[in-house]
Symmetry: D3
Subunit: 236 residues, 6 copies
Amino acid sequence: MPATPRPADQLRNVQIELGYIPSNPASVLYRCEGTIVLCTASLAASVPPWLAGKGKGWVTAEYNMLPGSTTPRKPRDRGGKIDGRTTEIQRLIGRSLRAVVDLVKLGERSITVDCDVLQADGGTRTAAITGGFIALAKAIQIAVPGSRIGDGPIRDSIAAISAGIVNDVAHLDLDYQLDSAADVDMNVVMTGSGKFVEIQGTGEEATFDDDQLADLLRLAKQGIRELTTKQLQSLS
Amino acid sequence: MPATPRPADQLRNVQIELGYIPSNPASVLYRCEGTIVLCTASLAASVPPWLAGKGKGWVTAEYNMLPGSTTPRKPRDRGGKIDGRTTEIQRLIGRSLRAVVDLVKLGERSITVDCDVLQADGGTRTAAITGGFIALAKAIQIAVPGSRIGDGPIRDSIAAISAGIVNDVAHLDLDYQLDSAADVDMNVVMTGSGKFVEIQGTGEEATFDDDQLADLLRLAKQGIRELTTKQLQSLS
Amino acid sequence: MPATPRPADQLRNVQIELGYIPSNPASVLYRCEGTIVLCTASLAASVPPWLAGKGKGWVTAEYNMLPGSTTPRKPRDRGGKIDGRTTEIQRLIGRSLRAVVDLVKLGERSITVDCDVLQADGGTRTAAITGGFIALAKAIQIAVPGSRIGDGPIRDSIAAISAGIVNDVAHLDLDYQLDSAADVDMNVVMTGSGKFVEIQGTGEEATFDDDQLADLLRLAKQGIRELTTKQLQSLS
Amino acid sequence: MPATPRPADQLRNVQIELGYIPSNPASVLYRCEGTIVLCTASLAASVPPWLAGKGKGWVTAEYNMLPGSTTPRKPRDRGGKIDGRTTEIQRLIGRSLRAVVDLVKLGERSITVDCDVLQADGGTRTAAITGGFIALAKAIQIAVPGSRIGDGPIRDSIAAISAGIVNDVAHLDLDYQLDSAADVDMNVVMTGSGKFVEIQGTGEEATFDDDQLADLLRLAKQGIRELTTKQLQSLS
Amino acid sequence: MPATPRPADQLRNVQIELGYIPSNPASVLYRCEGTIVLCTASLAASVPPWLAGKGKGWVTAEYNMLPGSTTPRKPRDRGGKIDGRTTEIQRLIGRSLRAVVDLVKLGERSITVDCDVLQADGGTRTAAITGGFIALAKAIQIAVPGSRIGDGPIRDSIAAISAGIVNDVAHLDLDYQLDSAADVDMNVVMTGSGKFVEIQGTGEEATFDDDQLADLLRLAKQGIRELTTKQLQSLS
Amino acid sequence: MPATPRPADQLRNVQIELGYIPSNPASVLYRCEGTIVLCTASLAASVPPWLAGKGKGWVTAEYNMLPGSTTPRKPRDRGGKIDGRTTEIQRLIGRSLRAVVDLVKLGERSITVDCDVLQADGGTRTAAITGGFIALAKAIQIAVPGSRIGDGPIRDSIAAISAGIVNDVAHLDLDYQLDSAADVDMNVVMTGSGKFVEIQGTGEEATFDDDQLADLLRLAKQGIRELTTKQLQSLS
C-alpha cells in the first residue's frame, strides 16, 4: 500500500518492461506502484471457426489474478466457472484492444493477450488494457514488419485509467485503499488521439450528478494523455 | 421488428402488467414493443451466508433469455458456464436495483429478481432494470407494509434506457435493428430523482467524442423521466 | 391454488393462446388454471450430426421451470447439471412428440420445442406435451405448406394428462394439491385416434392393483379426448 | 446374444450369487444370460441433510454401465453430466426399492444400492431392481437382526421385468435383440404380493392399444412371480 | 483382509480369469486375494484426432473404483472432476502398457483398457497393470492374428508390483493394512525381460536411504518375475 | 533455449529472488535459465475441515503454467477440469513440501504454496519444489518467529532435480530440448540431509536397467546438494 499521500489529480508511478519473458518479445511487465500485471501477446496463424474465411483476424484477451496477488489468497478459477468480475474484465480488455486494430489488415491471424495480475492494488483492469496494448502492438509489429501505430493494423494507441469520487473529491487512478472508499468508480478507455472507446461509471450504493461526471472525465483524459506518452516511449 | 419509423428522441411504446403471474403479485410483464421481459421478485426470509447476522438484507438479480426469444433459437445456459454477456447483464441489474434499496431497513431478507426475456428486440437489459424495479418495489411493499418509494427500504425509483449513435445521429431506446447499426451504444441507469447510478458507453469498433457523449446523456435522461412516470403509475 | 372443488372426473379449464410470442407464430401459451406453460417451436434447416445425410428430420424438446414459477423460488439449472426430474420430463416430451411425426416426410429439418413453465400447479409435463404439440404442428404447417394432421409429416395429434389415486378415489388431472396427496400418480400420452404412446404409473411409497389401473386409464382416455378437441380448434 | 429361440412367454435363465464381493455380504452378482449386474448395498449410519432428525432412514440407488459392458465401448459418465437415460434408470431403481421399505423402521440409516452393469444384453434396469432388492434385503437383515421380509423394515419383496410387442407378438423379458426390434417396450415393477409399483410403457415411434397393454401386463405378472421365488430362495 | 501372516518377501495368491465377460474374450478378472480388478480391452478401428494419418495406433487406460469396492462406500467420480489419485493411476497404467506396444505395428487402431476395481485391498494400480496387460495382449492377438509376445505389436510383457518399508522391514506386495502402516511405498513396473519402465517411490511423511531403495527394488524384481510367469500361462 | 552446450553433469544456472512480490515476503522468483517459476506462500489461520481440531497444520501446493509461458500458447485450465499432468505435479509438490514440515509444530495453520510458471523450458516441477520450499520456509519463519531449518516446524530443507538418459548418456537437469530427446526421465526429491523423499523414473516408450538407474541417482544427488546450498543462502 502506498505510504505517502498522492495529489488527487496525479497518476501513480508507472514502469513498463517490454520483453519481460525472454522467449516472447511481446511480453510486458506493467507496474503502477502496488499493481503489477504481466501482459503477453501470443500469435496464432489461424482464426476462430466463426471467423474462418472472412479475410479478417481476431484479437482477444484473458484476465486472471494469481492466487498470491492478494491477501488473503485468491482461489483459482478452476471449478469450471469463471467468476463474473473476471468475465466482465476480460471482455472489456478484448473490446478495448479491438477498437484500435484494423482486423482486415491484421489478416487471418489471432492474437491472445493474457493479462495475469502478479500483485493487485487497485486498477488492475486499466493496467491490463494499458500494458496489454503494448504487448499487442509489439506482437503486430513482429507479425507485420514495418507497421507503425496509425499505419497498418494498429490504427491508434489505446490506454485506460480509473477515476472516482472519494469523500466528495474526484480522484485519478484509484489504488485499493481509495477504491474501497469510493462512492463512485469510473473506468475510461481512450485512444491516443483522444476519443472515448469505453466509459463505465458506477455508483457503489451511491449516485452521481452531471458535475461529478464532468470532473471524473476531465481527470481521466489527462491521465490517459500521460499514459499514452509512456506507451509510445516503451515501444520506440 | 417495428414497421413505422420512430423519431430519434422517442421511446418505444411501453406496457406494464403487474401481477402477471397470478400466484405472485410481485410479477411484471414488461413490454416495450418487440421486447418482452417477465420480471418476478421472490422473497426469502434469510440472507446469503456472508451477510448473516449483519442486520442487513440482500437484493440480487438473474437474467435469462428464453430459447424462443430470438431467431435463430438461443441455446440454454445449461453446460455449466453462463455466457459472459449474461453474467455482465445480471450483475448490472443487481447493482442497479441495490442502489435504491436501504438494505438495513429491508432487514434480514433476500429478494431475487428474475428477469426472463420472452421476446428480444434490443434493450432487454434496460427493460429488465425498469421492469425489475417494479417487481422489487411490489415485493418490498408486501413484505414491509406501509413502505412507499422514498420512505422505508425503497429510497428512490430506478429506471434504465439505452441510447446510441447510428449513422452519426443520436437515437434514444435502440431496438435490435438500430442497435446492430450503432457505432456507439450507451446504457444509462438513473434514479427517479435524476441521479446517475450507472453509465456504460461503448464504441463498437468505433470511438466517440465529448459532444456525442453529451447528446446521448441528454436523450437518456429525458427517456428515463418518462419511464419513471410509467413505473410510478403501475405501482399506484 | 383452485378455490372450488372440481369433480374427480373433470379436467381443469384450459386456455390456449397460439402466436403468443408475436415474432413466432409457432408459440403457444397453454394455461390449465394454475399451470401456465409457454411452448415455442423453433425450426432449423439442419439435423444433428448423427442424423446427417439420412434424409430424415428430428424433433426434440426442452423443459424448464422459470424460477418464479413456484414458491419458494426454484433455482436455475445453471450449475452444469440438470436435475434428474427435468431430464426425465424433457425426454418424455420429445419421445411423445416424435411418436406422431413422420421424420422422413419432415425432411432434413430440426424442430426444438421449448416448454418453459411460467407458473406451476401440477401437471406441467402433460401441459407441455399437449401445448407443445400445438406449437410443433404450427411450425410444421409453416415449414411444409398444405400439411394437415394425418396427412404429411404430422401423422396424428398427441395429448397427455395425469390421473391419480387420492384417498382411494381415482382423480383426473391432478393439480399440485391433489398430486401431493396422491398415492398413485399416472401420466398417459395418447394420440388423437386413441392409441397409447406412453403410460407411466408410479406408486409413491404405495402400490396399486388392476382395478385401480383400469380406473386411471379410463379417466385419462376421457380427458385426452377433450384435450384433442381443444388442440384441433386452436389450430384451425 | 442367445443362440436358441426362447418361447415368447419364458424368462431368461437367472443366476443369483449373493456375497459375490467377499468383504460385503450384501453384494449380489445377478445374471440373466447375457445381462450381468453387480449390485452392492452400502450402509451408512447417517441420513442426507434434508432428512436429518426426522427419525427416518433413506434408500437410494446408483446405476452405471461399465465401459466394457457393451460393444462398442461405452464412455464413462465423467464429463460432469450424467446422461439422461442413466438418471432415469437410477431414479426408477431407487423409487422401486423404497416402495417396499418402511423408512421409519429402518431408522436413521442410509443404504445406497449400487448397480454396475458388467455385461449388457437388454433388461439391465429390471435386473438392477430384482438383484438390487436382494442386496438391500441382505443389508437390512444385517443391520436389523431378526428382520424378515414382511416383518420389520422390509415390508415386501420387489422385482421387475420387461415385456414388449415385437412383430405384433407380446414377448416377456426382452434381450437386446428383441428390444431393438420392439415397437412397444414396457417395464413393470411389482411386489411379491402382486401389487404394481411402477408401470412404464412406451411406444418407440409406435403406439399400442388396450388389448396389447393387457397382454404385456399378463406376461409381466407371470414373470415377476417366478423372479420373486428366486429372490426368496437366494435370501434364505 | 488376510488372516494369516504372509512372509515379507512373498506375493499374495493371484488368480487370473481370462474371458470373464462372455461377450469379450479380452476381459480379465484379476484377483490377488482381497484385491479384485476387472480389466477389459476394447478395440476401435480409429485413433484419436491428434494421431490421425500417422500410421500409428494408440493404447490408453481408464481406472475406476466401484463404489462398493471399499468400506465406507466410495462416491462415484460424477461431479465433473476426477480425483487426482484416479488421474495419476490411469496415466501410469496407460504409460506402462504403451511401453511394450509397438504402436506402428498396431496400425491405426485404438485400444482402451478399462480397469474397474470390484474390491480394493491395496495394490489396485499394480493389479490393474498386470491384469490389464493380459487383456491388452489378448485384444491384440485377436486383432492381429498370429502375433505373439515379442513378435508383432506386443514387444514384451509388462507387470507391476508394490513394495514398502513397514516398521523398518521391506515388504513385497502391500495389502491395505501394510500400506497404511508403510513409511515408504514404491511401485515398480517392469518388462518380462527384466527392464524397468517405471519406478515410483514415495516417503509418506518419511524419507528413505540407498540401502532401503536397494531392498525394495530387489523384492519388486523378484515379485515381477513370478507375475510374468502367471501372465504368460494365462495367455497360452 | 540455451545456446551453449552444458556438460552432462552440470546444473543450469540458478537465480533466486526472495520477496519478489513486494507485498508478500514469502514470494520467490526462481529462475534456472529458461525456466522461471513464481512461488508464493500464503498463510491462513485455519485448516481444512477434515483436519479441524486435531492440533495440526496443513501445507498444500498448486501448480499452473501461465498461457504465455510456452509457444504455442497454453490454454488456461478453466473448463472445470484440470489436466492430468497438472494434477500430478501439484500433488507431488505438496507431498514433497509436507515431508519436511512438522505439521504438529506448525499448529492449526494452512499454507498454500502457489507455483506459477512464467516461462517453461523443462524442469518446471523440480523448480517449483526447490523454489516453493524457500517460500514455504520464509512463511513459516514469519509465522513462527525464531524457527530455523531443523529446529521448529521445518525439519529439514528439500529440493528436487531431474535427470535422464539422452542418447545413452545420463544427463542432469533436463531442459526442454534434452527432455524431448530423453528415453528415460527421472525426478528426484531429496532432503538437505541426503534422504530420498520421492523417486519417479519413467521410460518414455523405453526401458532402463540397474546401471542406468544408478547413474541417474548419482547425478541427481550431486545436483540436489548444490541446490540445497543455494536455498540456504537465499534464506539467510
